[in-house]
Symmetry: C2
Subunit: 115 residues, 2 copies
Amino acid sequence: MQVQTDPLSAAFSALADPTRRAIIARLAAGDATVNELAAPFDMSLPAVSKHLKVLERAGLISRGRNAQWRPCKLEAGPLKEISGWVEHYRRFWEGSFDRLDSYLKEIQEKGKRHE
Amino acid sequence: MQVQTDPLSAAFSALADPTRRAIIARLAAGDATVNELAAPFDMSLPAVSKHLKVLERAGLISRGRNAQWRPCKLEAGPLKEISGWVEHYRRFWEGSFDRLDSYLKEIQEKGKRHE
DNA sequence: CAGTTAATTAACTGATTGGTTTATTACAGA
DNA sequence: TCTGTAATAAACCAATCAGTTAATTAACTG
């Protein structure tokens, strides 16, 4: 199961599945248990459990414990990272050319440090 | 190769790879040929060609033809879609109000759920 | 035409993904 | 302590992914 990818890749990968995005959307309305999250899907419970594990490993959700229920909670950190990443390209669907240059320079610096 | 997924999934999936994100970053600085794009990577040319195909199928790049070169060009439509999707969750990483809000919601639900 | 360069296709490989069914763990309540 | 419920783990499977090397297509050049 997904070994040591960088956080951004893990987040993108986790969101590249409609089921998992639907789970995120559901959690935006409030915390929910695994069974509650699984209800809308024509899929076994273990399958949903696996999706939740993917989301958890990507940091997109956290899970608490309340008796035998494991309430899931949306954690937006990775969403913020994705937003930050994609916003650097905003000029490509709009008109302004600000801030991209510094981003590219930053990337170039990282490359020189071999990353 | 990747059969008929929805556009958003295809875009997220395409971006869930550091090599492909680096290619996107490079193309943000201007169009480039396959060899130019492949240069920074310790990877065979066919491997890069495959990455480009993934990006193309996701609509993130387009390819023209200039003699034997295939200039690649960034297409930001899918990036805009991702931006739109993720912005729906902005409230989850802005402000401490939301954390308090979900905390209160959680407390409240402890009493009335699973009656 | 022959030779070179740019890029893709083909065939193959090992790892990962997304789902299944069955078994197991953890807890609550009578 | 026994039973039911919530959830995960284990084992398995087919499909996809990310890379390789070797072959092929397509275009320019001498």
